[in-house]
Symmetry: C2
Subunit: 369 residues, 2 copies
């Protein structure tokens, strides 16, 4: 790995909370970081200029969706995902595994891979670890993920079997992966079972990936279980590699995750909530459709520095929602993504300030739920 363009520098620690930087071919990713999700090579309703103005450093795209439409071969022909969508900063693609298991119409898992039907047109497709890596090489993201299965977190027998297969798939992904300008991350599974999580972390750590992820959380388990699993896994995963908590999420999740040693997060929540009229704030959610905001001249948040809060009132946003105007989704997405990006920046600063636990406790005390 000496010639790799990827390097994780740990700059500060405060308890288990870490501040670092992950160097990639498309620029540096300061950690902790939140990555907005651009499922179909677009963070829904935002231009890439708006994402840059939000200072997003890393975005995620979904392999399952882009494989089906427009096709990874087409993206490769167009110069890869960065050029195709005109985003010159780091991109991460997932392996397609999660969507194959959650979105596709039917699926059949065997030792070699998964056969599934497209949710778009019902056509039959097959993903193997090797194929997932090949598709991700075509897409060309900076960080790519091992093909894994995200199992029902409460089924101990199935998790044992599935985890063992995910481990064999991780070895196959590592073997199949060719591109030196991509970092392949391993994924720890194991449901809510401490013994399985520890075993999975040991195994994935042994493969010496340039970064490691925790999958299969935020899929129905309790927050207590989620935190326990993160603690078990991060006690085992190497300190000198970034740790990515997949598909997570809320402001509280970021605070609790960083406190337990997580560096990277992604979630559709900020854009999905925005399309459902809901703003995320540092003290809870606001549903801007409510009539109480019809004449409310305040911004979503008095202290927020995002474009939406600097320019628009709750009354205007509510009007846009009532009138079913697309701009409401754009403006609330800008606010919600800003909220999570800004929180990650503040958590990073708290690590540098050696003030993390006090900051976290103060921040979490603002939430009622």
């Amino acid at each position: 790995m000496s010639n790799t363009p990827f390097k994780f520098e740990l700059l500060a620690q405060d308890g288990d909370a870490r501040a670092g930087v992950f160097h990639t071919p498309h620029g540096d990713i300061p950690t902790p970081i939140f990555a907005p999700v651009g499922t179909q090579a677009t963070v829904k309703s935002l231009t890439q200029q708006q994402l840059q103005e939000l200072d997003a450093k890393l975005i995620l795209a979904n392999t399952y969706h882009l494989y089906l439409r427009p096709g990874d071969d087409l993206v490769a022909e167009m110069g890869g995902l960065h050029q195709f969508m005109d985003w010159n900063r780091p991109i991460l693609t997932d392996s397609g595994g999660f969507q194959v298991f959650s979105l596709s119409d039917t699926r059949k898992v065997d030792e070699d891979g998964v056969t599934f039907k497209s949710h778009i047109d019902g056509s039959t497709h097959r993903f193997t670890p090797e194929h997932s890596v090949q598709v991700q090489e075509n897409l060309g993201a900076d960080i790519i993920m091992c093909f894994d299965e995200c199992a029902d977190p409460y089924d101990p027998v199935y998790n044992q079997q599935s985890m063992a297969r995910t481990h064999r798939w991780a070895e196959r992904c590592q073997k199949a992966h060719q591109r030196q300008d991509q970092a392949l991350f391993g994924i720890v599974q194991g449901g809510v079972f401490p013994r399985l999580r520890a075993a999975s972390a040991e195994f994935i750590a042994s493969l010496d990936f340039p970064g490691n992820a925790i999958g299969g959380l935020s899929v129905g388990e309790t927050k207590t279980e989620m935190h326990a699993m993160i603690e078990i896994v991060n006690a085992i995963l190497p300190q000198d590699k970034p740790r990515y908590l997949m598909g997570v999420g809320t402001p509280q999740d970021l605070v609790n995750g960083v406190q337990r040693g997580i560096d990277i997060f992604d979630c559709v929540l900020p854009t999905r909530l925005a399309r459902h009229s809901t703003a995320m704030t540092d003290s809870g959610r606001i549903n801007l459709m409510n009539a109480q905001y019809a004449r409310d001249e305040r911004p979503i948040s008095d202290t927020c520095t995002c474009y939406t809060c600097q320019h628009h009132s709750r009354a205007y946003l509510r009007h846009l929602i009532q009138a079913r105007e697309m701009l409401s989704g754009t403006l609330i997405s800008i606010h919600n993504i800003h909220t999570l990006l800004e929180l990650a920046r503040k958590l990073r600063q708290a690590v540098f300030d050696q003030n993390y636990n006090a900051y976290a406790a103060q921040y979490l005390s603002n939430f009622e739920d």
Copy 2:
């Protein structure tokens, strides 16, 4: 009118084509100008920042829509339309007349006004000339319009009656209008009938509005008829007041309108076409949904300087359309509005260059239709 903040300066003429500037309380409007339409206090899918980056100088909002939702009283409470939508440049509102006659479920016209049912919830409302002016004073646009009826352009008997009533309504609007920081424009009607158009232009001109509009065109008549009506009317309307051709539109319409002395245009076409995957160019329309663009790495237009053409390929736009991503509407709207704003800027320069007819002929020769 000596204390009025409104003043039209005619800076150059080339034949009947004019270059000028209309001074308003919210800034100067260089003419000829195209005004994007923000029906519900938003130019669909664009932030106000994006409109400013397009250098839109004037936008239109629809009185009918804003009266129904969120209500002109609410807009007034929020500080008026400029503050409500955070747009500090000039705004024009129409009178509601056109929508009352085209959108509402049922309507009954009498000498005093129109009773109609909301297209949103079927509730009954009534607009009179005085009420339209009052609603527009609440909305607070810089340019407001007389309440008029847009009749079937081919019915000579009805046009005669309707026009006479529209004239009486114009006098009532003028009498009702109080705000000195708004310019009330008169509207010429008369269908496709030269005698009626001339009579209407004479009457409206006699009322000495700070600006005049031509209504009832681009509603089904031929281009030849439209051009003939514009010529008849503009030969009568005063030279020293701006002339606004309402609800028009295409690039060719702008070229032909300016050639016949029009200064201001507005149309929903650029944003509506964008939402239907269609890009406007200086040589015709492109439907980006077509499969032929799937691997087309070129921008919509090689010579266009808009954000979309500077950053994105037809292949990416087609992917967004296929994937039903909102961003396609935003990006194509940016391009289409830029196309019309840039065309108006070029037509203005051609007037200064005393080169209008040659420029117009050259421009129009690029279109097949």
